[in-house]
């Protein structure tokens, strides 16, 4: 125990002297939180929009005005042919164009069907969905209104609406991206820092020649590894508290479930990250290699874990890979507990996954780390 604490104490003293690293441990979560919280927004509003009005009727202006007040379309100009639309879309001055055909007002007044056209820049699929959905539902709603109006003019009263679906969104009713992103960020930041710092921990000693000194000492393998990761567990919890705290203050991220449960389950996740870092540490020859490995590993984590793209949308092989990542399971836990108020039994299966991954990693890294040279 003396030895284990000696290692942990030494790591902490070294960490305190290393201003840069120490600053990163605290600064990084805050910076990422602000970046992800403010910058990433998957519901696209205020798309620059052109209007090509061939009709110039009252009905046409009314329809454009209705689109504009949804907040999704910012009318940035009026054009007079398709060439102008194409140029604007290509140059990125506009993302969307609304084309109102001639006879638009006349057809409506006559009760005939008419179509307005929506031209959308499909190079970014996120825009397409937002742009078309809003316009289509607006069109449908307006059609309904016009039909009822016509029926009323003829003295008839139709059903208010024959069939409609009323969506009810639970857990994040306003669909705020920050609320979805911030809890996930806890997992991403922990993956990043825990793996990076532990992967460098053993390699650093090897590079500086101090590992050999430890290997000839009576210090045990477990004492060395546990002593080294102990301070980082504490740092992991500090980071987690920081993100959740700031997330709550700045982005009003709720906490529906039990905080102690979240902290308890986080320990398994943190342990898995640290074990992975230790495993990288046994593979890498230099700190640089360790750093590269961590980054190489981080990317699929962000892409496949469900942090940005939904798990359900991935092809089966990607889903299988995703299941092997500790972050995937921790994201479900942290989102479950903070947003949905999940209890232990709700996230039990994720815990089983995490524990299994942890077990495999610990087995792998103790097999790799030997107290012999050569």
């Amino acid at each position: 125990m003396t030895r284990l604490l000696a290692i942990a104490w030494k790591e902490l003293v070294q960490l305190r002297r290393d201003r840069m690293t120490f600053g990163m441990m605290v600064g990084l979560p805050i910076m990422q939180l602000m970046l992800f919280g403010y910058a990433i927004n998957t519901d696209v509003r205020h798309m620059p929009t052109l209007v090509y009005d061939q009709d110039h009727s009252l009905e046409a202006r009314d329809f454009v005005a209705r689109l504009s007040i949804t907040g999704f379309y910012d009318i940035v100009g009026h054009v007079h042919d398709y060439d102008e639309i194409e140029r604007a879309l290509r140059q990125g001055r506009a993302r969307v164009a609304i084309v109102i055909p001639s006879e638009f007002g006349k057809s409506i007044r006559a009760g005939r069907g008419v179509q307005a056209q929506l031209v959308v820049d499909g190079s970014d699929p996120q825009t397409v969905a937002s742009a078309t959905n809003t316009a289509m539902s607006l069109g449908a709603a307006r059609s309904g209104e016009l039909s009822s109006l016509r029926l009323a003019q003829n003295g008839l009263v139709g059903p208010a609406q024959p069939l409609s679906v009323e969506p009810t969104t639970w857990y994040n009713p306003e669909l705020k991206t920050a609320i979805f992103v911030v809890p996930g960020l806890v997992g991403v930041i922990l993956t990043m820092t825990m793996i990076m710092f532990t992967s460098m921990a053993i390699v650093r000693e090897r590079e500086r020649g101090t590992l050999e000194q430890l290997i000839v000492s009576p210090i045990g393998r477990v004492e060395l590894v546990v002593g080294k990761i102990l301070p980082y567990i504490v740092i992991g919890y500090v980071q987690m508290s920081l993100i959740l705290g700031v997330g709550r203050l700045v982005f009003h991220v709720p906490l529906q479930g039990s905080l102690p449960l979240l902290y308890l389950l986080a320990s398994v996740f943190i342990a898995a990250c640290l074990a992975l870092g230790m495993f990288f540490s046994t593979l890498a020859k230099t700190q640089q290699q360790a750093m590269q490995m961590s980054f190489f590993f981080l990317l699929p984590n962000i892409l496949l874990s469900g942090f940005v793209f939904p798990f359900e949308g991935m092809p089966v092989p990607a889903q299988m890979l995703s299941q092997a990542l500790p972050l995937t399971h921790f994201l479900r836990i942290v989102r479950g507990i903070t947003l949905k108020g999940a209890t232990f039994s709700d996230v039990r299966i994720e815990l089983v996954w995490l524990a299994a991954i942890l077990f495999v990693l610990v087995a792998l890294s103790s097999m790799r780390f030997s107290k012999k040279l050569g």
Partner: protein
Amino acid sequence: MTSEATPQPIAAEGPVIECEHLSRKFGSLWAVRDVSLRVERGQIFGVLGPNGAGKSTTIRMLCGILDPTSGRGTVVGHDIAKDSEGIKQNIGYMTQRFSLYEDLTVEENLRFYASVYGMSGRARKQRIEAVLEEAGLRDRRKQLAGTLSGGWKQRVALASSTIHRPPLLFLDEPTAGVDPVSRRDFWDQIHRISDQGTTVLVTTHYMDEAERCHRLAFIFRGELLATGTPLEVIERRNLSVLELELEDNRTLEAAKLLRTTEGVEEVNHFGLVMRVALRNSQDPEGTVRRALEPNGFAIKRLQQTRVSVEDAFVSMVREDDAMRAQKHLETAA
């Protein structure tokens, strides 16, 4: 763990290090081949050889951190292959790289290594104070190890590796790259540690340091060339070394001539003085005079001088080279 205030009593009888036919292969290369050593308690045992001779590999096997390919050995009574943890408790180890944490202070380094060897509380504190005092490090206790000069780093490294008062201390090229004054200080410290009852095994490629050891072993190309006290090693080679000064400055020609003379092994220049080594020579002075004077060289001064360990070592290496060349020719033919 209890803190050790005195060297632990180890198997009271017998040598501290004993190994037989120790060999280690890396890939297809034999780094160490058939090395047998015996180091008695309290000795300062020097292992000499050029860089890459296999000194470090030998030490690592003796510490139990590198398994020998073949051969056996016991260190402080523990088998090197089977009981390396038993060895680790009883040894100190210091390498040329001074394995200090540069971002820890002198005192923190000592404290860390003391804890690693299981010391704690008051015993640790007292021991650290004692070591700081002994090594003259008191004024520098709060200084970061990374900001110390080479000589001071070396002191701290030595203090760290002896903080637990090990009965056996391994020093692997401890003076490589350290200035001459610091090297002398360091050897004084090694003798002080030895006087306290610690056995020391030290490797070096500085031949002047070899003469400060009680016993020596020469390692060359992974093989043991000789062992014994410095005097024994020197006498066994049966060398005579002469200092020669000429009236004129045709030293290069004279050296050329001497090198082809029967019995002369080595001619070296030290400014205007030449050092001539002869092996198995009944009349070294006569040999030199007979070689030079008939050829018109006027000798100003010619006198016998002390044979050094370096002379003996160079002589052995030359012989080994010659034998290998011979063997190579035979196999080629």
